[in-house]
Amino acid sequence: MLLNKNGRLFSLVFGILFLLICGVFLLDLIFGSVNIPFKKVFAILYGADVKNSWNYIILNFRLPKALTAIFVGAGLSVTGLMMQTLFRNPLAGPYVLGISSGASLGVALMVMASALMPVAFGVISAFLGSWALVVAAVVGASLVFMLVALASLKISDSVSLLIIGIMFGSITGAVVNILQYFSDPEQIQSFIVWTFGSLAGVTWTEMKVMVPIVFSGLIIAFFLIKPLDALLLGENYARGVGISVNKTRIAVIISTALIAGTLTAFTGPIAFVGVAVPHIARSIFRTASHKVLMPAVILIGAAIMLACDIISQIPGNQNTLPINSVTALFGGPVVIWVIMRSRNVKASFAG
């Protein structure tokens, strides 16, 4: 049967993808504002003490940045895939439930309201120090997440939940706008810089917090492969084959909140990958099976994020482009090309 043939073909594609990631990962370590010969990069990775500043750049800057890129690419793509299946909507992504809007509200409050209410917010931000933005984003994202989760307990259809998520997004967006209106330009700028997203800011200490949380979200996602497959036929058929749609929905929301909420807190909202990578995976593997798509989006997402990070390093220049612009600027045409070529994106969803 074709099934076995496909199985072998899939392994081949997965193998190629894996090699691709290794390649892009090394390239990401090699390229940067400081020129380090790539033999030295290998030496540093093997533990040799080549040059103090180079060692520092590779081990404490480029390595965590590349690892963050992998986690962001993989995590956001997985949550995007789950959201698209749950809502049976090709435009759904990790942020449709308002998680990034919640995080941005938290950050906006921390950055801008500390000027309006210096006593309260000033004390908090002084106390938290470098963790201030992360904590603000986590608090904001969890707040919105809890509201959406509460709503999902009351509401039993996914479309209404989608609308509620979008409404939460609009409401928090409005509050952020009001805050911006009353803030000084410098504060607005530091908020806007956060919204550009950045893979670079994550330290090893922060990594120790980020990685386990994102990882646990990914593990939940892997347990959802089977119910998500059943959901492809719609909620009624899924129930008919013994899937608890409500439990699945809540698990999807929790997993998304853990992954997207945490990543947003550390890197800022990173657009595009979450929505686009599942489509790329579907058109490469020509399947809707989550058993294939779940690992596929992880690999493709990681590879794309690493590639975007390389592109964002302008050669011979100290500056880097905001990662959010790179993902959309270079990824957008790729997705358009994929869609034009396969024309099966709409067909992947109930019409």
């Binding site: 049967m1 036929l233 013994g242 899937i243 399947t287 809707a288």
Partner: protein
């Protein structure tokens, strides 16, 4: 002993079931109560009734999607109430009206979803699972389509895939909610025949709700006839026709149920009498056309107009006030008759 055997023959039993909706905390809207129905092994039951009779509510209640107001349903002696989805999915499988339109999804994969209640959390299919899936596809005659994508199939084939999914689910009871709703006539007949054959071959109980009265009358072993606020009438289709239950349930001003043919005939207002000479197939269709035009057809001499059928040449001769006119089609005949209506 004989009593136990009797019980085992029944796959589905409803006991004093009340169906309806809870409205608010205490109030409830009861559509029907004290429902006691059974389906035996190898039996195909069609649930018929006009819109709003509560067919869907009954189906949903039996399937455990909606909880009953009172009473319970048993499948193979196991009460559906308070079972979780996975346990219910091993007792009954469902096929819905909705058209499956998902891209990149193979027929084999869809049918394999029927094995979900039996597989581990990863959904890994064992040898036995794969055999059951192939067997189910073979039974609906779609094994050669196993690797096709579902959106490459016709609507009739898609519905057969969903029936294969239900077969792969390997449940004693299969429930189908208007499975033929968006299919053309040949496909509708195909699906009904397939279901009837499956009930016999697999010894499962098949329950389907439908609006296709004529098909149900031909294919069902038993019909459950529902009407708003009346107890459900149960019987062989022929019994329900003979005792007038069908006529009563679907009673309407605009058509009449013909007990002889099992068809509905639209009730046109009769304005004129016309004599038709000739019988057989040509006579039958001529009569149909004339009654649509508002003529009361008779074989005795009546009125000033008569139509004579010339079966050898497939022509119609109209005699009217001594004039004779030949027509070569029913369309021509009707057009000719219409000219008189204007002048008369």
């Amino acid at each position: 002993m004989s009593e136990i055997k009797e019980v085992q023959k029944d796959i589905l039993v409803t006991q004093d079931l009340s169906i309806g909706y809870k409205q608010g905390k205490k109030e409830q809207l009861c559509l029907l109560s004290d429902i006691n129905l059974t389906i035996r092994r190898g039996e195909m039951v069609c649930l018929l009734g006009p819109n709003g009779a509560g067919k869907s509510t009954l189906m949903r209640t039996i399937a455990g999607i909606q909880s009953p107001l009172a009473g319970y349903t048993l499948v193979e002696g196991i009460p559906i109430r308070d079972r979780n989805f996975k346990e219910i999915a091993q007792l009954l499988s469902i096929v819905l009206t909705e058209r499956i339109n998902v891209g990149n999804l193979t027929v084999y994969h869809i049918v394999s979803l029927g094995r979900h209640p039996y597989t581990s959390w990863m959904g890994r299919l064992s040898e036995e699972d794969n055999d059951k899936i192939k067997g189910a596809l073979e039974q609906v005659g779609l094994l050669h389509y196993a690797d096709h994508f579902i959106n490459q199939l016709s609507d009739g084939e898609r519905q057969r895939v969903m029936i294969a999914k239900a077969l792969a689910q390997d449940t004693p009871l299969i429930m189908l909610d208007e499975p033929t709703a968006h299919l053309d006539l040949p496909n509708r007949v195909d699906i009904m025949r397939l279901l009837h054959r499956l009930a016999r071959e697999t010894n499962k109980a098949i329950l389907l709700s439908t609006h296709e009265l004529d098909l149900a009358l031909q294919a069902a072993d038993v019909i459950w006839l529902m009407a708003r606020g009346q107890t459900i009438k149960v019987g062989a289709p022929e019994d329900l026709v003979l005792n007038g239950s069908i006529e009563e349930t679907f009673h309407n001003k605009s058509f009449i149920f013909d007990r002889k043919t099992g068809n509905f005939i639209m009730n046109y207002q009769k304005k004129q009498i016309i004599q038709v000479l000739g019988n057989d197939v040509m006579g039958f269709w001529t009569q149909r056309a004339l009654s649509r035009e508002g003529y009361q057809v008779t074989c005795e001499e009546a009125g000033n107009c008569s139509v004579k059928l010339l079966e050898d040449t497939m022509e119609w001769e109209i005699h009217r006030n001594g004039e004779v006119k030949k027509c070569r089609s029913i369309q021509e005949l009707l057009a000719y008759l219409r000219t008189f209506l204007v002048f008369d």
